[in-house]
Amino acid sequence: MKKILIIDDDPVIRKYLASLLNDNGYATDVAQNAREAMDLVSAESFDLITLDLDMPGEWGTRFFSKLAQDKVKKNIPVIVISGMSGNEYAIPKAVASLTKPFDQKELLKIVRDVLK
């Protein structure tokens, strides 16, 4: 089963994304900030990451730049899911960027395409 890491400081979003992805056949793990996410990524392997941008402590962009410096982990595809305006410009190397509130069908289509 493909495993997805959900990184978001909002517990409602984390819960919603986890239910949505679990219901569609994906295993999930959640992190509420960049540091927690980095610990999880170091300890486990993930097939995909959904990443919020504006989080307390380090922003999602910093998490991504750290991830990109890891020779192994840098290939994990990242989907940006954020409420910030212009978030499509935040991480040019992200596989997709969605603005909250997002369409769940659109997210699932992106996830399916990426994990095919």
Binding site: L53, E58, W59, G60, T61, R62, F64, S65, A68, Q69, M84, S85, G86, N87, Y89, A90, I91, P92
Partner: protein
């Protein structure tokens, strides 16, 4: 590092990326932030008295509404609106209140104005950058506004005297924040834009020479900075600086601005600085040479 921040804004969406960064720095460093708006006098003969206190208060309310989301977060903010010539008023404000940092956007043209036409690239930021006596942080692209912290800084040097001022600032910043400091120089591959490109052996010899020079010039001054890199790449300076910053996930580019005519409103900003400001995927901090006593 930053206690007093001045955010000069036209209160339009052209300044939104700069607003995001200004409020973010203010929150991160618990700095006092002054949101500064100048109502431009269209007619040079227009009297200051034409805009009364009531109108200023109304404009302040508009600014409060425009930045409501940012202002709703905790922080020390103040809004100031005045009438006049934006460049002159911003520079006066800097002189009077001596902020540690001026944050501004590029009020016209934005990403589309990558040419050399001063009118399309926004003349206010160019004049202010040239004359400001405090560091100026310019945020042009939306891509430059996703700014979480200062952890990776590129100091782009041309080895000029003004670059030394910018280097001192970059070192202070690196020591205060513990960030990684990249000292970067782009070596031109030809003497002038029209001349032929040097052969590769000559280019690589120049890179080695500049790298040795850079290590000698800056290496000994890096005490207290644990993470640093010194790099020289060949190519067109602004392209290489933007590229290097992107590939190294820089949060900030620091550059020197060495204008011959700092007060001039017609002379363009140095083309490398201007192009880096317009194209960078992170904020660009410009340091001017100190004013002659």
């Amino acid at each position: 590092m930053f206690k007093k921040i001045l955010f000069a804004t036209s209160t339009t969406n052209a300044c939104d990326p700069a607003a995001r960064v200004a409020f973010n720095i203010s929150t991160l460093y618990k700095a006092w932030l002054k949101i500064f708006h100048v109502i431009e006098k269209k007619d040079p003969g227009e009297a200051l008295a034409d805009v009364d206190e009531k109108s200023i208060l109304e404009v302040n309310e508009i600014i409060k509404t425009y930045y409501a989301e940012h202002l709703s977060k905790p922080g020390n903010h103040e809004i100031k609106t005045i009438l006049g010539d934006p460049c002159g008023r911003i520079l006066e404000e800097i002189q009077r209140n001596k902020p540690d940092l001026l944050v501004m956007g590029v009020s016209a043209g934005g990403e589309k104005s990558l040419g050399n036409d001063i009118e399309t690239a926004g003349s206010t930021f160019q004049t202010v950058v040239k004359a400001s006596q405090c560091p100026v942080l310019i945020v042009n692209r939306a891509a430059a506004s996703f700014w979480g912290a200062i952890s990776n800084v590129v100091f782009a040097t041309d080895f000029s005297k003004t670059s030394d001022q910018a280097f001192d600032f970059a070192c202070r910043l690196a020591k205060k924040t513990g960030c990684e400091l990249h000292i970067f120089h782009a070596q031109n591959t030809s003497l002038t834009p029209e001349s032929q490109v040097f052969d590769q052996n000559a280019i690589e010899a120049r890179i080695r020479e500049k790298l040795r020079f850079s290590r000698k010039k800056y290496g000994s001054k890096m005490e207290g900075i644990e993470n640093y890199a010194i790099e020289v790449w060949e190519g067109t300076a602004y392209i290489e600086i933007v590229k290097y910053a992107r590939e190294n996930y820089a949060d900030l580019i620091i550059m020197a601005q060495d204008s011959q005519n700092p007060g001039s409103q017609t002379d363009e900003l140095g083309s490398t600085v201007k192009q880096v400001i317009l194209r960078a995927g992170c904020p660009v901090l410009c340091i001017n040479k100190p004013k002659r006593p």
